[in-house]
Subunit: 344 residues, 2 copies
């Protein structure tokens, strides 16, 4: 124990401040701050040392002048379908247990919050912020950190600046499972309707598709890969294009359930039966998937659990407990229903 | 001006407190409180007098010891489908303009909040509360009023205690329009799948159906009226029953879009085509209605606008401006799509 610690009267049972931890670990306050905020960019041995100090002595947040408000903020880039309801319900579950209220905001389709957003959040002094399918600027992240407001991402878009903890699903495995299911049924002309190019989860699903095709020795025909934006309209428009090909697909892997619904529309327009004439697999398995006619085979992404995991991480961070993992990835699972069958 | 007012130094330009208004109007503080909180149980002439005083002098809220937090609370009995997304987006629109954050809570399917709910709300000191398809107990309403927290209902369930301002849609007219549309197409065996018996909006839709049938001189066959609970499963189960009748309906008016989706399922099971073999009308016109196959004819309920109206009323009440109307009812509109056609 240094004399400085003696002077501040720190004893074994009393939690350390961030400055005290920094002194004991022989590192900067900024480095300790990174660890307690769950950031990755700290050397493993330093991280271990700091975590060991926190485990032994506890850690007392000090920057926040006043106690945080009993609020947890969820920010969506867009609140449009059942995806949002699942997330809110998942966060609400953990919020209720911790007597926190859930503040929901929406960025009007922008993936990065605008100028006023962070000021309003700072003024509310929430216990933490969960950003869903969104991206904060470096500056916004920095300002939250400067007030010690924990930030956790759900389904991060993959743009730069994502050094905060995050929760996602095993998208690559899901893409693999969806495509393997179609291959196993005997399909070879398998189209894929993807999500936005710059979104990590969309890219992972497409890569899973490619891997399944490669492993099965089925050449990927580039004309069968169509870029969508996760909207119903994309599924409709891109399937119309696919069905006009001289050698059209016998199956479509749509990278979310919305796009899959668009595939159903295009098939109905063209007088094609699902699954007799065209097999369809979706992704997300939102509550409506089982009510498609026929019920949609889809890759289940456990959105409520993902949101609950993010809320749990946020609460832990707010209580000065660094999360045991920087990245939590929950398993996806193929749910086979009536929209897939062997090709004719 | 009374000497008491002179003593408190009230001048023309300065807003009056609730006690000053009460003295000037010669009524109790409780009566003024009712008016500024938008309650109905005040005689019209008293109400007019009080409103005139407020118009002339302004009104200064005084009960709230501290300024309210920049939060607006939305409480749902259940957060399950796109209905909730529409409401949140509508509230968010007004909240953004007023720099308020939206707190979303869900009662797990209960129409009345449980014990802890009101304590948590009081502790958060929100600017106001919007209760959606829910009912507060007398005691809960009283406790919000005691802290001067405005309360506005959206689509109130109709249980007792609803003296707070509310926003709804013209449900009776919607039921009438839906049924008239089917009658105009030539249908006579028209079934209706209703909502819960004790919910006002559901009752109004059913009454609109009855009125249309009566005006057209078509006897209502009680066997064609089926009680649902606004869930997809009800539409499925009750349509199965209807299709087993010796004289089955040629058209079904489902009292929400979820039930209508269940009708689609039952029709598909039975090998019936919509609209060739069975016409279907829904209610709500949620964003998914146009994506049903075929697209659903539905009565549009302007949920986003209803929610925005409720938020506007809440903000006005919080600023000491009694709403110009205690009840706002927005028009419904029949949107004809592909699920209705003349009977075979």
């Amino acid at each position: 124990m240094t004399s400085a610690d003696e002077a501040t009267g720190t004893t074994r049972g009393e939690p350390l401040t961030i400055a005290q931890i920094a002194r004991r670990a022989g590192v900067s306050v900024a480095t300790v701050s990174k660890v307690v905020n769950g950031r990755l960019d700290v050397a493993p041995e330093t991280r271990n040392l700091i975590e060991e100090l926190i485990r032994r002595h506890g850690y007392r947040r000090q920057k926040r002048a006043t106690r945080p408000a009993p609020l947890i903020e969820v920010v969506f880039h867009e609140l449009r379908g059942l995806y949002g309801i699942e997330i809110i319900n998942g966060v609400n579950q953990i919020a209720r247990e911790n007597r926190l209220a859930v503040v929901v905001s929406e960025l009007g389709g922008n993936r990065t919050p605008g100028r006023g957003w962070v000021e309003d959040v700072l003024a509310r002094r929430p216990t933490g912020v969960i950003a869903v399918f969104s991206c904060l600027t470096e500056e916004q992240g920095r300002r939250l950190r400067s007030r010690d407001i924990p930030l956790v991402f759900v389904d991060p878009t993959g743009e730069p600046g994502h050094d905060a903890p995050s929760v996602g699903a095993s998208n690559w495995n899901g893409g693999l499972a969806a495509t393997r299911h179609l291959l196993d049924l005997g399909h070879r002309r398998i189209a894929v309707i993807t999500g936005p190019d710059d979104v990590l989860s969309a890219r992972a699903r497409l890569d899973g598709y490619r891997a399944a095709m490669d492993f099965a020795g089925v050449p990927v025909d580039p004309v069968l890969i169509r870029r969508g934006d996760f909207q119903i309209e994309d599924g409709l428009r891109l399937t119309r294009e696919l069905l006009r090909l001289s050698d059209p697909p016998t199956a479509v892997f749509a990278c979310n359930d919305g796009e899959a619904l668009g595939v159903y529309q295009a098939a109905a327009e063209a007088g094609l039966r699902i699954p007799g004439d065209l097999s369809v697999v979706g992704f997300d398995d939102l509550p409506m998937a089982e009510w498609n006619i026929p019920p949609l085979t889809s890759v289940r992404q456990p959105l409520q659990e993902m949101a609950a995991a993010a809320a749990t991480m946020t609460v832990a961070l707010a209580q000065g407990r660094p999360p045991s993992r920087h990245r939590v990835e929950l398993a996806t699972e193929l749910v086979v229903r009536g929209s897939t069958a062997p090709p004719k």
